[in-house]
Amino acid sequence: MRKLFIFSTVTFWLVVAGFWLANFFLPLEPPSAVSTIAETADRNFTLSDVALHGREDDCWMAIEVQVYDITAYLPDHPSEPELVLPWCGKEATQAWQTKGKGRPHSPRADQLLAKYRIGKLDEAR
């Protein structure tokens, strides 16, 4: 058991070091490029605006006071379409935060979502 412990621990750190080293040899781009797109668009929408885009080929969602046009992403979504499509044109914060078993979306999904942001939800109206 002692040998197994030493072997697995060393292997773990080697793999972590591998990820770290790999990081140096990679171009630094993807998530940072995304945010600039998101900054430029800052229009206000109401929930009724969002409701007009409730179809598979034109799908907006309001999540945490932001409005997203995820039409282009839908074909890439890992789950079956039946899970996501019902939320097109709706306020989907709840669905986003608790995709099955209360499991939140990963930090990466957050970044992915930011790419599709088109504006803010105007809650006053």
Binding site: M1, S8, F19, N23, P31, E80, K101, S106, P107
Partner: protein, 424 residues
């Protein structure tokens, strides 16, 4: 007074089956659907690992009834080690599999998941947990640490489990399965620390008499103040000796096998000086308050159905003394008693007297000096060895040397039982 013997099936399977419950329940609940492969692997590894950590904690609770139910402390400790180790392996895979999943998406993301400075506190908790487990296990496998320091560092593992569960709580909130894991851990760890380590569940006894034996060893007679423990021969208790008029006990719980069980709940313990605390116990006097927990252990459990071969090395004679003093042998029984020199051999007179009164009982006492005894020669003197159950209690090198020789003579593996005087 004796309780029902534990069946071989329970001995073997109860602890591992119990260890399976938390991880299986957790993975069942959390089983990922519609998620990419490596993330799913990471999640399954995380829940199986979390569940096994909880199993590991439950298995070291050290509570008499739980121990009976789960096939004895020996088996529980074995599975404590195994489930803890397996949990660790799975939890090493968990962050790596998450990183690999990200890598497949975009290689830059993988390091972002692992590097602590790009994270927030739920994942810092994960890292802290993993590092504590790593540290705790490093000390666990550092064989030469003194026992007290070893135990202290080992406790880091308990903290690691709590931080790991806090990490999941921070990520997912209070899902039922997680609350089940947290409450189970808190109860088991709380029981262990308060009831067992501090001794809140202990029974008060007092020292009636101290008899000095050959070698650095005493035999103590203990009488209960209130309710007595229901001990059977072969079992051990955890004993913490307090203070007397001229004696200051070290107050910690140490395991000692009962060497005699008498009327009115009076127990005998044979204690050899093997380290600082047991050295101090040599100066024990009558009247000292003692706290006992137990009984534990399934050595010599049940009525033998076959002839017996017993092998005792040094202080390992204690469980056999308890059995011999309790009643006459129902099966032919040969005891090989090994010691360094005759001046070191406890109970020798009493054993010789027993040979004269009990025709079923035979004694082979042998001084073996410093090295290992001549096992082939000794075993050659045992008649019908393959017909016998073999029970061994002594130092580990002795057991290790004896095992292959017994197997070579055709003794079946499941006919050999041994008790170790060490939990590590």
């Amino acid at each position: 007074m004796t309780s029902r013997p534990t069946s071989a099936l329970v001995r073997r399977f109860a602890a591992p089956l119990a260890a399976l419950v938390p991880p299986v329940a957790a993975v069942w609940w959390a089983f990922p659907e519609n998620l990419p492969l490596w993330r799913s692997i990471a999640i399954v590894a995380a829940w199986a690992g979390s569940g096994l950590l909880v199993s590991s904690i439950v298995l070291m609770m050290r509570e008499t009834h739980v121990a009976r139910l789960l096939g004895g402390l020996e088996s529980m400790y074995r599975w404590h080690h195994r489930s803890g180790m397996l949990a660790y392996l799975l939890l090493l895979c968990h962050p790596l599999a998450l990183a690999l999943d990200d890598w497949l998406e975009a290689p830059q993301l993988a390091w972002m998941l692992l590097a602590p400075w790009t994270q927030s506190w739920p994942l810092w908790l994960g890292w802290a947990a993993l590092l504590l487990l790593m540290f705790g296990l490093t000390t666990t496998f550092a064989a030469r640490l003194p026992y007290r320091r070893w135990r202290f560092f080992h406790l880091a593992l308990g903290l690691g489990v709590l931080l790991g569960l806090a990490h999941v709580y921070a990520l997912l909130g209070g899902a039922n399965i997680l609350l089940f894991l947290i409450v189970t851990t808190a109860l088991a760890l709380g029981w262990r620390l308060i009831a067992s380590d501090v001794g809140a569940a202990a029974h008060p006894y007092h020292v009636v008499r101290v008899a000095h034996q050959p070698g650095e060893m005493i035999e103590v007679l203990l009488a209960p103040y209130a309710s007595a423990l229901a001990v059977s021969p072969g079992q051990f208790v955890l004993a913490a000796f307090g203070d007397g008029p001229h004696y200051r006990g070290c107050g910690e719980y140490h395991p000692f096998t009962v060497s005699g069980i008498e009327a009115d709940g009076v127990l005998r313990l044979g204690i050899k000086a093997l380290g600082p605390c047991s050295q101090r116990i040599q100066n024990l006097e009558a009247g000292v308050l003692v706290h006992l927990q137990g009984p534990f252990g399934i050595f010599l459990d049940g009525t033998p159905s076959r002839p017996q071969l017993w092998v005792a090395g040094g202080i390992g004679i204690t469980p056999f003394m308890a059995a011999l003093r309790a009643h006459r042998r129902v099966q032919p029984t040969t005891l090989i008693y090994l010691f360094r020199s005759a001046a070191d051999a406890a109970f020798l007179d009493e054993l010789s007297a027993l040979v004269r009164t009990d025709p079923q009982f035979e004694l082979l006492a042998e001084a073996s000096g410093r090295g290992l005894p001549d096992f082939p020669g000794l075993l050659a003197r045992i008649s019908q060895i393959t017909e016998r159950d073999v029970n061994i209690c002594g130092p580990m090198p002795m057991v290790d040397a004896l095992m292959p020789q017994l197997r070579q003579l055709g003794v079946a593996a499941d006919a050999i039982h041994f008790e170790r005087f060490d939990f590590r």
